[in-house]
Symmetry: C2
Subunit: 174 residues, 2 copies
């Protein structure tokens, strides 16, 4: 049922997008985080056509992000609940939310993350769990891992070659 | 040129997806982070049809994520370079990469982030820049901001109502 439309399927970004990259999928997940579980709730929240919603929910279930549970026998009705894998998607949505708020909210903030302990707005940033250092392009480089294929290795090596002139400049300027 | 297909366009997640949610867009951005700039490079990396690539690049330029620069006069040729807004998208891609590596890499890691100072693999996690605390569902709640419309407020309030029973359980179990 899943479409394999991407060329290089060893890339974890491509693999993620295979599961959540269809139009509507991430908004369905967003709504699931808001606590929506039922077909009609998603439909009225998103204004999405029923056949489309049905396909998207099915794909998210197949990908293991939502679990389909029967909540009524007569008539037979299902609800859709985030699995651990689906719950683990929250940082991606929050990163999108933060980026959207920074760049596409000329009229002000419509949505933010509040720290329940301090009552203050949180500012989500990506850090390295091991060092606590903010993830930056200067310090944190993408590398090929053991399971990378030739294509992926070539891509990464080429990226580092392209980057090298910059880096020399940066290094010599310190 | 941009399609306004989402119902509630005050949501910063929906606004972000309006810009990058089309199939291919995020992989084009990924490749731009690898240093690809030219039409032919994107095309051969992604195996995407030229007319589709042309439309996606145009949309990313229009949304302010890529800048189109002429690099040749005869023939006229353009390259596409990440803008500050595009560069700021990196945490979203890295979150997708980390999530994909955790859930969809049964054969092992093909791509990872390396800390250039320590030489170790970094583990990207989302924290609150103000407190340094990891962002969790228990502590960090999505709230409506000043620019939220009625629809958004209703959605958030309903989310907090749905969440309340859980929270009492969680609180009492501590």
């Amino acid at each position: 049922m899943q479409r394999k439309r991407f060329e290089d399927m060893t890339c974890p970004i491509a693999r993620s997008l295979e599961r959540v990259g269809e139009w509507w999928s991430m908004l369905i997940l967003r709504d699931a985080f808001y606590g929506l579980t039922r077909f009609d709730e998603f439909q009225s929240s998103l204004g999405i056509a029923p056949n489309m919603l049905s396909r998207r929910l099915g794909a998210l279930v197949e990908a293991g992000l939502l679990e389909r549970r029967r909540y009524s026998e007569r008539p037979v009705r299902y609800e859709y609940v985030l699995t651990p894998r689906g719950l683990d998607f929250r940082p991606v949505l929050l990163s999108l939310m933060a980026w959207g708020s920074r760049h596409f909210a000329p009229e002000g903030i419509s949505l933010f993350l509040e720290d329940d302990r301090t009552g203050r707005a949180a500012e989500p940033v990506l850090v390295d769990a091991h060092t606590g250092a903010p993830i930056t392009r200067e310090r944190h480089l993408v590398r090929a891992g053991p399971a990378a294929n030739e294509r992926m290795r070539a891509r990464i090596e080429s990226a580092h070659r392209r980057r090298a002139p910059d880096r020399h400049q940066t290094l010599s300027s310190h």
